[in-house]
């Protein structure tokens, strides 16, 4: 089955335009990154850390940054289906030739692109601040091991996971607020593994990091198929299963 790029783009562009005018979305996208860059900065610069504790502190700081690709998209993707349903805008879209996979991909891209931009930008700010103001031991610890690789690899994959979980919850919910709370909670489990590695409970080699990333990628792709299968036009329009 081939996806129509134009239909996917139509949904994505519409979503991005809608975000631009939506104070709640703008607020979420602005507040979460600010919150999760301030905490690691304090962690790095305010604490008097030396010796073997440096690596654990750096790991914890970077773990905060990985919350951004989970939190930012889960809130907007949880709104994606149930929000349209509440506004009465879902039915006019569903009566166009769009296929459910196109609709969902368009929605996912609209959450994915700004998340990636924000998360990488925040990481860039973090690296720049560390290079300028942190002591050399901390800077060395940031670039040692797999910290940077984990950030680069897992930011899009965690975002993908959070988005599909958010859309799945949204497609099954009847209330936006419940959907948002559930999707944030359901997006968290992959962070637990990364928390163990960031805090050096599990030593993450490059090979293991790539292996975990590949597994998360496979889960993301599977999640896309599962969410598409869950997307039932009849239930969304009438509230009853086909």
């Amino acid at each position: 089955m081939s996806l129509s790029r134009r239909r996917v783009a139509a949904i994505t562009v519409k979503e991005l335009r809608d975000y631009r005018h939506n104070r709640f979305v703008i607020g979420t996208m602005a507040t979460v990154p600010v919150l999760f860059i301030v905490l690691p900065m304090i962690q790095l610069f305010a604490a008097n850390v030396t010796g073997k504790h440096v690596s654990a502190h750096v790991g914890l700081s970077l773990l905060y940054l990985l919350v951004i690709p989970v939190m930012v998209p889960s809130v907007v993707s949880a709104y994606s289906v149930v929000g349209e349903r509440e506004q009465g805008t879902l039915e006019p879209v569903l009566i166009t030739p769009i296929r459910r996979e196109e609709f969902l991909t368009g929605k996912a891209l609209a959450a994915f692109v700004p998340t990636l931009v924000i998360a990488y930008a925040v990481f860039g700010v973090f690296l720049a601040a560390a290079a300028l103001f942190a002591n050399p031991a901390i800077v060395s610890a940031i670039y040692a091991g797999t910290h940077v690789l984990v950030q680069l690899l897992f930011t899009p994959l965690l975002a993908g996971w959070a988005i599909w979980v958010g859309i799945a919850v949204s497609a099954r919910s009847t209330d936006v607020r419940v959907a948002q709370q559930l999707s944030v909670l359901a997006s968290m489990p992959p962070l637990a593994i990364l928390a163990l590695t960031s805090l050096n409970v599990i030593t993450l080699s490059t090979a293991l990091a790539i292996g975990l990333a590949a597994a998360l990628l496979a889960i993301d792709l599977l999640a896309w198929r599962v969410v598409a299968a869950m997307f039932d036009r009849e239930r969304l329009v009438t509230g009853r299963r086909a």
Binding site: V13, K14, R17, G88, E234, V237
Partner: protein, 338 residues
Amino acid sequence: MSSGRSTAGAPKGRARSAAGSLAPAYGDHALTVERLSKRFDDRVAFEDVSFEVGYGEVFGFLGPNGAGKTTTVRTLGTLLAPTSGSATVAGVPLRAENGPEIRARISIMPESPGLYLRLTVMENLQCFAGLYELDQVRERIERALLAVNLLDRARDSCASLSKGLRQRVALARALLNDPAVLFLDEPTSGLDPVATREVHELIGTLRERGVTIFLTTHRLEEAERLCDRVAILSTTLRLIGRPDELRRRLFRRSLDVRVRASLEDPEAVFGALPEVEGWQQTPAGYALNVSDPDVAAPAVARALVAADADILSIAESRHSLEDVYLELIDEDVEAARR
């Protein structure tokens, strides 16, 4: 009364799009519906519905709230899967795998406009032009907005528009893809009289252009004014035909006679006329059952003059579509009581 099936009186020919171009004709009928049913668990939404709609026809689908009108539209628009029966929509068999093809050939304007209120009119229409994969997007949007007299509001946010204007934007959105069949689901629901008149005028304009329109409504004067044929649905299809045909089918033709003073012996006046099949006194005068009012009226006038009556008026009784509708719905209520 069994479900009817007819295209008698339907205008022939191909649909002309909102833009003025000929829309493609997919087969002989824009819609062919055969014994279509939809149930939700044990609740019947509509059952055993059959009808055909010709290209260029404005077809009214009437019924009380909960009669199954919107469910029928959603089923024909492939949003819902029928429980049984078959249909062809714009030349394409109604099957799940044909959903995208059917939806590309039709448009549905739901009861609620469903616009993205934070976006402008233009942005809303651009989104839908993309969903239909249309070429010459700007030209098409301008034509659609021109058709609904909203070209000057293209840059306005939809949130700033009145309910009537939002309905017009929804209509422009439905016209974007030059649909072979345009489904309008209660297009004037909740509108004030001015906005209702505007929507009626727009539908009238589309009708003149030959757009095939499937109009669901419970506003009977709307259906009578706009539709070539109407069907009355109350879970099953109760009646189908031109409004005047339905009146004739349900009501005997009659003459209303008004005279200045009551006749001394009405039976002597009306009973002697072969053109009059029966008569009864009414508060306003006399109601005469006749088979042909054009033949009976002069004979009645002559008889009244001969009887020295002062005639105020002799006119054919006019039963509205509302009378037809209420007669059928009353039958349903009676049947439910039994």
